[in-house]
Structures are given as structure tokens and as C-alpha cells.
Symmetry: C2
Subunit: 399 residues, 2 copies
């Protein structure tokens, strides 16, 4: 496995640039940095990328000593638009709008928030839909497997370019939480605290299983064309396959209780004569989420990021999980959602136990909620105060 | 909705016949009955079937007064081969072999056990792969939606043909349990007791959601051809689609804990260079189960039975669940598996509560097991003695 990157340094050739984004959406609130290195960006799993572009957004003002920077890490289908309105290139309002802004838990009157679209993504950062400089055509099937560690090294390069030596906190849920714990392990000197929500130290077989069927279903779509569908006529992309992958995932993001309360056994069109493709309301809900994702997400990015999640294992190449955790220095807040069956509270308790066993300070909170895994995006009333209190204490210690 | 069927009567024209079974397997231990009615077999959801054939197997000897008959109801991908060896047309050994036989919980030295392949199935009973007498070709896409109630009415016709007025007990898990509770509601006079394992009174939105994505994935397979694939060359059926549908289901049949213990994060081929289609052992396991099912199961049957499960709701057309449960007369045993996230213990507690509220005797047992939903097929050490004790008491009361 690759050695850890060298200690942080500002790369003089990592210059913020504003570039066109090939999917054609407006740039919106995005900013861009292109890593104009003399050498390619080597990837953990082999291979390399040339001319890596990273899209990011920021909120608030960076202090003169750069001490108030917070990194927000997005989940699988998220993007850099963690806060702000819908429109102007942003298909949806900020995915964590209730958490980021003046007077909010990540109070942009005091902290400087950064959120970067992950490597392999499709919202401005280099991903499978980007132009491969070697061919002048989209990467498609040639895009390599990227890992959480690759994204974290890219985020570190972005931090360099912004002049941020260390983060006040690194925070995120689900796949975002994977980046969070990798940050704490890879760059212990650059992380003064971290917050991991509904996430894990290594993906479980259960999580991999659901990921895998989603990928296989997507690849079954003839319109996927082995990953090289970018020159297909409009509307002939692997939309059905991506929608099915999303549907499988969407179920696991919620809970029996939520579906029971919200949909029960309601039919879309109540009928007396039953048809094989008559739909219950829950099916309509899954279709809706599929279509919604298809409109804003690239199928190849979905595959690549999904696989990156499966590869998530902080212990890989480091002598195991405990040995990796021993590298962590920062205090942490870990949050579980009681009804999360995809990232069950057991995984967050294991993380807490490993951190405590390594002598680190770690607060673990279990939110009693029926929302399932998506609770990390929904339970602001619980998460907000937890983050506020945690950050207040960290800032006091840092002062 | 349709009125309930008339009280039971022996249909003189329902004669046991031995017929060829179109899928080409050996007849094995199967027997057949064809409903040679002067009128078609009307279906709850509309439409009708002509010349319905029912495949079944029996173990033990029917008492002269037919008082010792037990109906075993199979689950989604089960068949009539509940007990007995693999081979001779039976792709697998009996799916409940540990439960049925001399000295076993369903002790064939004393009771006469019957198991019938459900309507819409593909193991001998009339289903989508059967020849439509109207056209001389397989039904395929023209096969109508069948419901659990249709299968139960077919089972009642089989009972008539065997001279069985009432069952000592009706027993089954999952989809089998759907037939069990419908029996208790539809034919209260013909059910002297019943045992329902890991099942429910009505499918939940959560269950429907997982079913639905499986169906949609199957239909995405170009080889499915809208359901009319029976004349496709060998190997060109909708195998990939069916395998994916199976994989989604297979995950939900097991548990995080089982997968964690059994597979963890083991890779099939440990590599240093990561590929998008590198597989973890859990993926290999899901592929294995997909291929195994493809070899023995018809994709259209999978769709039809899957849909029948979604339509399962004992309250439909009966003024709701409590009103349906008020029809039940028999005492019952209800069993839950603690780690079952697909048919969670909550559903079985609801069934127990409804039966008790209606003044019926009902014992509910929760088996503490990591096996997940499949526990009803695996936890013989727990289920066996429960069934033995329950039946002993029922036989004592009947004596």
C-alpha cells in the first residue's frame, strides 16, 4: 500500500482557477482548484489522474491565522453545495443548510466552512464524466477506482491552496464520515477535532452487499454500455439502472417505521383488477427518488463512489484498525441514529471504543429516531445542539 | 372485492392425475391434480385460469377419518419438496427436511403431511411457464396476477380431492405464513390449528419496497423480453435480472451479524490494484445464490409470486384486519426471529395481539437468533420442540 503523504505544505502550483464544468450546469457558488502538478495525482488503488480539478464552496471568512476553518464532507450523492439555495447550477438547496450559516451550529459568523466535491464525483470535481486530457474524451470506463484516502489527499491539497494548515473540525455523515475518520488517521496534525455521524471505521459485508446489488443492477442497463455512454443521445443514458441502484439504497437509508407511517399499503391507483405493475405508494416514492437522482447524478460516478465506500477500511495497509486509530490525536464527537440498519449504532460504538482504548477523548451520542440512516441529514434538532456544544468546547480548548 | 368462497365441498371433477411437467424435470416425488371444472378457476384479482394443475407431495398415511392431515405451505422460492432427497427432478433436498419425517416434529408416523406448489409457481403447478390451453404456448406475459387467496382456494380444492375436510394444522413461514393466516380466515371450519413463522397479516411498505426493486431489476434485463422469453435459446433467459432480484432478497433474508461473522471484508482475490468489479466474498456469496436460483426457478414465477406477497393483506375486502381476524376459530402458534429485519417481530406481535383481542388462543415465541428472516428455515433446534409441543396439545384437545 502507499506510504502516507508527506507532512502538509502549500503546493505553489495548486492554484485556484475557475473552469468550465463539462456537465453544462452553471458554475453557481462553486469555486475550482486545479492541481497543476508536474507529476500526476497517484491513486491508492493504482493508476493516476492528470490535471485533477476540485470543486468546492466556502461560507464565512477565513481568520488571518486560518484557525477557524471547518471541513464539511459530503455523502455518496451529495456535492459541494452543503448550504445555500437551489438554482443557478445547484439542482437542490444545500444538503445541510440547517447546519451551516449565521447563528447555525456551524456558525459562519465565526467559522469558515469548506465543502469539496469528492474525487470521482460529478459536480465539478474530476470524475468519470470529466475529459481525460490524454484523449480529449470523457474518461468513462477508463476512470480508475478512487478511494476515500484519495479524496482526503485531494482535500488536503485544497486546504493547502486555501492556506489552511489544520481544521478546527472535520465533520460529515455516512460516506462523509469515512472521509472524517481518514482525515484523523492520515493527517493527525491537521485535525484539531472531528465529528462523525452514522459512519464506520470499515464498511461491513452488509453495506457492501447492498452496494454491490446496486452496482450490478446499474451495469445490467444496456444503456450503461460498459461505462462509455457519454456520446449517447439525450435520454439514452443508464437512467433506469441508476434509478434502481438508487432505489435499493433509498430503502436502506430509511426505516420500516418511516415507510409504515408514511405509505402503509396505499396504492397509487386503487384498482379491483390487479396488475403485475400496479404500484403501491412506496414504489412511487422509490421511483421519484430514482428520477430525481438521475437528473443530477452521473451513473459512472455512482459506481466509482459506491465502490470507494466498499473499500473504506482505515486499517488497510496500516496493520489493522487499532493500529490506525492509534495515529489519531484529536478529540471527537460520534453520533448514531437508533433506527439506522445500514450503519447500525454498533459500528459507531466500535469506533468510540477504539478511540477510547487508544486514550483519545470521544463523546458518543445515540439519537433515538425513526428516520433510519438518513437521520444524519434530518435530525437537526438533535445534531445541531450536539455540534454546537462540542465546537464551543473545542474552541475554548484551542483559545 | 370478491365474496368469500362457498363452504368447503368435495368437487367430484377434481381428480388426481399424473401429468407431464413442461419444465422437463423428472416428476420425482410429485403428484398432480388437475381441476377439470366446467368453469374456469376465477382469480381474486380478475381473470381466470383454465385447466389448473396443482403439484403436491405427501408424507405419511392419511387416517381413515382424515383427522391427521397437516398442510405445509412453502415460501417464495420453495416448492412441494418440503422433505426428501435431492435428485430425480428435485434440484435440492427438501427445504424443511428436519421438520418432516418419522420421529420429527411433523412426525410422519402419526400425521399425513401435504405440501403443494403454489399457484403461479414453476415446480409443477400452473404458472407463467405453463402452456396456456387457449393458445398452446406458454402464458408468459399473459399470466394473470394471482394472490395468496387464490393459492389457498387451490389448496382447498386439493384437500377436497384428497378427502381432507379439515387440517390438524396448517403451517408455514414467510410467504407460507401468508397462506397459513389466509387459511384461518377463509376456511375457519377447515383449520383446527395453525402455525405461522416469521410472517405477517399484511405486507408492509418496507417489504413491498424490497420486492419492488427486485422486480424492476429483473424487468431491466433485456432477456426478460416483457415476459415472453420461453422460446429464447438456452442460456438467453433473464438470468442476470433474476439473479439480481434474488441478491436483493437474499440480503434481507439474513443479517448484518451473520454476514459480519461469515464474510467480514474478505476479498475473493486479494489485490493491490483496485478494480471496479473486484469482488468481496459477500458479493461472491450473493452471485452464488443468484445462479443457484436461476437454475431452478422461472423468472416470471418470481415476479408473479413476489407481487402476490405484496398484495397480501388479510383485511382487503373484509372490512380491515380486525374484522378478518374475527373470523378465525383455531388456536395458533406464532414464531418470530429476533434478528429478522424483513418480517420484524413487531409484525408477529401484532398478529398475536389481534388474535388475542378476538378471543383466540395464541402462543407467541420469539427465537433469539442472529440468522435473520431465514431463521425460520434454519432454527430447527428451537422451532422443532415448539411445534412438537404445540401439536401434542392440539391432538390432545382433538382426541
Amino acid at each position: 500500500m502507499n506510504a502516507e503523504p508527506a507532512p502538509p505544505r502549500v503546493y505553489p502550483d495548486a492554484l485556484p482557477v475557475t473552469g468550465a464544468w463539462r456537465l453544462g450546469d452553471d458554475v453557481g457558488c462553486r469555486q475550482f482548484v486545479t492541481l497543476n502538478d508536474h507529476r500526476p495525482f497517484a491513486l491508492e488503488g493504482g493508476g493516476a489522474l492528470r490535471q485533477v480539478t476540485l470543486a468546492y464552496e466556502t461560507w464565512g471568512t477565513l481568520a488571518a491565522d486560518a484557525s477557524n476553518a471547518v471541513l464539511v464532507c459530503h455523502a455518496l450523492t451529495g456535492d459541494s453545495h452543503a448550504s445555500g439555495r437551489q438554482g443557478n447550477g445547484h439542482a437542490t438547496a444545500g444538503w445541510w443548510d440547517d447546519m451551516i450559516g449565521p447563528g447555525k451550529p456551524l456558525d459562519t459568523d465565526r467559522v469558515f466552512v469548506v465543502c469539496m466535491n469528492v474525487l470521482g464525483g460529478c459536480q465539478g470535481s474530476t470524475g468519470p464524466a470529466s475529459i481525460d486530457p490524454a484523449t480529449g474524451t470523457p474518461y468513462g470506463s477508463r476512470f480508475p477506482v478512487v478511494t476515500t484516502r484519495d479524496t482526503v489527499r485531494a482535500q488536503a491539497r485544497l486546504a493547502d491552496s486555501l492556506g489552511i494548515g489544520s481544521w478546527l473540525t472535520v465533520i460529515g455523515g455516512s460516506m462523509g464520515g469515512m472521509q472524517v475518520i481518514e482525515w484523523a488517521v492520515m493527517f493527525p496534525q491537521r485535525v484539531r477535532s472531528f465529528v462523525s455521524l452514522a459512519s464506520c471505521m470499515a464498511s461491513s459485508a452488509w453495506q457492501i452487499a447492498f452496494s454491490a446489488v446496486g452496482r450490478t443492477a446499474l451495469a445490467l442497463d444496456p444503456n450503461w454500455r460498459g461505462g462509455d455512454y457519454y456520446d449517447a443521445p439525450a435520454g439514452e443514458g443508464p437512467h433506469k439502472g441508476l434509478a434502481i441502484a438508487r432505489a435499493v439504497a433509498q430503502i436502506t437509508y430509511r426505516s420500516d417505521e418511516v415507510f409504515r407511517d408514511r405509505f402503509g399499503r396505499d396504492l397509487v391507483d386503487p384498482v379491483d383488477v390487479f396488475g403485475l405493475w400496479d404500484r403501491f405508494q412506496i414504489e412511487s416514492y422509490l421511483d421519484y427518488h430514482g428520477v430525481k437522482l438521475v437528473r443530477r447524478f452521473d451513473a459512472n460516478s455512482y459506481l466509482v463512489l459506491n465502490k470507494a465506500m466498499d473499500f473504506h477500511d482505515i486499517g488497510r495497509g496500516r496493520g489493522g484498525i487499532d493500529s490506525a486509530i492509534a495515529r489519531v490525536r484529536a478529540p471527537s464527537l460520534i453520533v448514531s441514529i437508533s433506527s439506522d440498519t445500514l450503519y447500525p449504532p454498533l459500528q459507531q460504538r466500535e469506533m468510540r471504543d477504539a478511540l477510547v482504548a487508544a486514550g483519545r477523548r470521544c463523546d458518543h451520542h445515540l439519537i433515538d429516531s425513526p428516520q433510519g440512516h438518513d437521520g444524519f441529514l434530518l435530525e437537526f434538532d438533535h445534531i445541531g445542539p450536539m455540534v454546537t456544544d462540542f465546537l464551543a468546547e473545542i474552541e475554548k480548548q484551542n483559545a
